[in-house]
């Protein structure tokens, strides 16, 4: 029997990363196929290929038994394939209705149907179905993250498609919003629409999927039929046997130790519940929460990138004032940012220049940097962190994701770190390099450095953290320790549920 949509032996590589290696996928009409895997397993890449956003290096795609060439987004749309991206792609300067219909506006000879309100009427219909409670005239820039995500979904629903690809559509939705979305997906299934569904929330997948395809490190890892879809079965296929080896964190935190960093009653927004927490020496504190819950903002406030409206920061009991990144760095509080290519590195500069960027004052004399200054320091760092680079003068943009992340870390280790905040430290990094990053974090913790690790990867949070803080709507929803740390308890807090305990 031939499938409705079939992808055969799809390969795609990016510099330093084989994202997909001979991956197969097939799905029938009216089937809901969940695609799961760890971060960097290749799910999004595969979906982007099916949606015409990127082109595969090799492989074949068949639709209704016919070979098709999905070279561009309009081509995918013509074939009836709609893709809801993981990241928000909205024109924030336009209103909700304009975004929903972008590219396929109701029109009469090139003129928008604004005067007879057709655009707004149609938008309202879709918005009501989704439970998006705002005016279609509202500017997208004024919406919350959850609402923006619903606009993104509404956009896909606004046109005729046979295949709907959803890449983590619920990442920043509340439980109610997610429930409503599942209702819509089930209704689509009734209409014989094929749905490809990506999510990290395995509970959702148990509830909704007809079949599960699991990817691992760019390879097919296995498939589960409806009756086999169980949380443990998915995790087993996602992480494989190696999991235990990778996450070896010795819990050596002294619970009685004085807090190393204490953040008290901090606010970076007006009308925000003040945030208070502390990190003990040698402790890895995981921070979980939905996209847009304010984790990155909190990290930016502590490191002086964002003004602190109220609150105090204590380092070893001493009140320090942080009003600029320079203040935080002087205190030894460093940030390894979420988007390393944008905020962590100077991409066209060399490995050496990047590593020394924050320490030039110590190396230079009277502002002049000696020609070979810092070479030995950089050499040490590269060895200590096993940074794989052809030379110290290699442009950092050409390194693999894992090595780039190590360069960011090396930059801070040249100074004396006391607290390091990692924001999504292993995003887009292959499994091998992930393990190395975790080992480095462990190493740092052993030296008594306090670590705050922001992550959307629940497996990572579960296995690396000594303690977990959960954020929801820009406030601390709860704190979990020891046996209380579980995927369920974290998700409950992250989506605004009551405290688990």
């Amino acid at each position: 029997m031939s499938h409705f949509l079939e992808a055969k032996k799809i390969c795609k590589s990016f510099p330093g990363l084989q994202a997909l290696n001979n991956v197969d996928l097939n799905v029938n009409k009216g089937e809901i196929l969940a695609v799961v895997g760890e971060n960097g397993a290749g799910k999004s890449t595969l979906m982007k290929i099916l949606g015409g956003v990127i082109n595969p290096d090799s492989g074949e795609i068949l639709l209704d038994g016919q070979t098709v060439n999905i070279a561009s987004i309009p081509q995918a749309q013509k074939l009836g394939i709609a893709l809801i991206h993981q990241e928000l792609h909205l024109a924030e300067n336009l209103n909700v209705a304009a975004n929903i219909f972008l590219g396929q506006e109701p029109r009469r000879g090139g003129i928008l149907r604004l005067i007879d309100n057709k655009i707004y009427d149609l938008a309202n219909q879709i918005m009501q179905e989704l439970g998006l409670n705002c005016s279609p005239h509202a500017l997208v820039s004024e919406l919350s993250v959850g609402q923006k995500q619903l606009v993104e979904i509404a956009r896909a629903l606004s046109f005729q498609f046979r295949i709907l690809i959803m890449d983590e559509p619920t990442a920043s939705l509340s439980l109610d919003e997610s429930k409503r979305l599942f209702g819509i997906i089930k209704a689509l299934k009734e209409k014989d629409v094929t749905v490809l569904y990506i999510s990290h929330r395995l509970k959702e997948i148990e509830e909704i999927a007809d079949r599960v395809l699991v990817l691992r490190d760019g390879l097919n890892s296995g498939e589960l039929q409806k009756s086999e879809i169980k949380h443990e079965a998915m995790v087993r296929l996602m992480v494989g046997r190696e999991l235990k080896q990778f996450f070896q964190h010795a819990h050596r935190v002294q619970k009685t130790a004085e807090p190393l960093l204490r953040v008290e009653a901090l606010r970076y927004l007006e009308n925000q519940k003040p945030i208070t927490f502390d990190i003990r020496p040698g402790e890895i504190v995981g921070m979980s929460g939905l996209a847009g819950s304010g984790r990155t903002e909190l990290a930016e406030t502590i490191t002086g990138l964002r003004p602190m409206l109220t609150g105090e920061v204590f380092l070893k009991g001493e009140n320090i004032s942080i009003s600029s990144p320079a203040d935080a760095i002087r205190a030894g509080i460093f940030l390894v940012p979420e988007d390393r290519r944008l905020h962590g590195l100077v991409l066209p500069a060399s490995v050496k220049d990047n590593i020394l960027l924050a320490s030039l004052n110590n190396i230079g004399h009277l502002g002049i940097i000696p020609l070979r200054g810092g070479d030995s320091l950089v050499q040490d760092m590269c060895e200590k962190l096993t940074i794989k680079t052809p030379s110290l003068n290699q442009q950092v943009g050409f390194l693999s994701g894992g090595n780039q992340q190590k360069v960011v870390l090396a930059k801070w280790l040249c100074r004396k770190p006391r607290v390091i905040i990692f924001d999504e430290p292993t995003q887009g990094i292959d499994v091998g390099a992930k393990a190395e990053i975790y080992a480095l974090m462990d190493e740092l913790a052993k030296d008594g450095i306090g670590i705050l690790m922001i992550s959307s990867d629940l497996e990572e949070i579960l296995h690396v953290s000594d303690r977990v803080l959960v954020m929801h709507h820009a406030s601390l929803a709860g704190e979990l320790e020891g046996k209380d740390i579980s995927e369920e308890s974290i998700m409950k807090l992250a989506t605004g549920g009551l405290v688990a305990a």
Partner: protein, 315 residues
């Protein structure tokens, strides 16, 4: 909306000040000249705005104006051409369109920064104009009286012809930008090019279109310039025109980040740009201070704009 209200208030205040400053017997004439100037320069502000809305910039406007005026004068009056205006004008406008097309292609297909491409254009077209004119003034003398009458001389219902032309263009531009699918795409590209691309919009095509329209409008301004001044001197005319055009658009609410701006705003911005020097002139402020006044007004506008920006962006 807040922005627009602020601009209107500012414009009204300036105009009242002007009414007080100008002696009553000269007021009508001053108004007429002012309206003509606003109409004329509004043409290039519209062009600059189209590009700015997509998040681009065009620095070559002044040079395109001078080249077009020079080419127009030569085509109309040179012995070896002596073309009929019905032929010469489309040629000049078409030339402008081709220049815009080249800009657009270089920016989209070769991925060059708009600033760089149009900066090079600024030098090149000025040089071409000086070369084809033999580095001399080119005039139309007493020829083309009909054309001049049609485009420039005399009023229509008491309004200068340049203003009438501008009003027609502005209405077309308003329909294009605010009510057509294509205008919507320009805003979407300026707001988030990736979002536009992911919606299946041929973003390159629309960016190219904006540069074509901008250069065509600059060429049209060149024709108007020639009609009004009767001659053009490529070595000295038309300097800073692109900056006036950009300043008018930005003062009128176009954000250099792209994605923002309205035709009514651009019109008010251009009006403010030209009332200001008129007013300072009437107040007897030495003309060497004029640029300081314009620059300060722009700076003030930019500061106000930042203050009025909704704080939601930082949330």
């Amino acid at each position: 909306m807040k922005k627009l209200t602020g601009l209107i208030v500012f414009l009204v205040v300036l105009y009242i000040a002007l009414a007080i400053a100008v002696p009553s017997q000269g007021f009508a004439l001053n108004n007429y000249n002012l309206a003509e100037r606003i109409g004329q320069y509004g043409v290039i502000s519209l062009g600059a705005a189209l590009v700015i809305i997509t998040g681009g910039i065009d620095l070559s406007i002044g040079s395109v104006v001078v080249l077009s005026a020079t080419a127009c004068a030569i085509l109309l009056t040179d012995k070896s051409f002596g073309l009929d205006p019905m032929l010469a004008l489309p040629l000049v406008l078409g030339g402008g369109a081709v220049i815009g097309l080249i800009h657009g292609l270089l920016i989209t297909k070769m991925n060059l920064p708009p600033f760089m491409v149009t900066l090079c254009g600024l030098f090149i077209y000025r040089g071409v104009a000086r070369t084809i004119s033999g580095n001399m003034s080119k005039g139309i003398g007493n020829q083309c009286i009909e054309l001049r009458h049609f485009l420039y001389e005399g009023d229509i219902f008491g309004l200068p012809r340049f203003l009438v032309i501008y009003i027609i263009l502005a209405i077309i531009a308003a329909i294009f930008l605010h009510f057509s699918v294509y205008g919507r795409y320009l805003y979407a590209i300026g707001g988030n090019e990736k979002a536009a691309k992911y919606s299946g919009i041929a973003t390159d095509k629309y960016k190219i279109l904006s540069y074509v329209l901008c250069s065509t409008l600059a060429a049209f301004f060149g024709i108007l310039f020639l009609m009004k001044n009767n001659a053009v001197t490529p070595s000295s005319d038309g300097f800073f025109l692109e900056l006036y055009a950009i300043a008018g658009a930005v003062l009128g609410g176009c954000s250099l980040r792209g994605g923002e701006g309205t035709v009514i705003g651009i019109t008010i911005g251009t009006a403010i740009m030209w009332i200001l020097p008129n007013l300072t002139n009437m107040w007897g402020v030495p003309s060497e201070l004029e640029f300081i006044v314009i620059g300060s007004a722009l700076l003030l506008g930019a500061i106000m704009d930042e203050k009025l920006r909704p704080a939601a962006k930082n949330a």
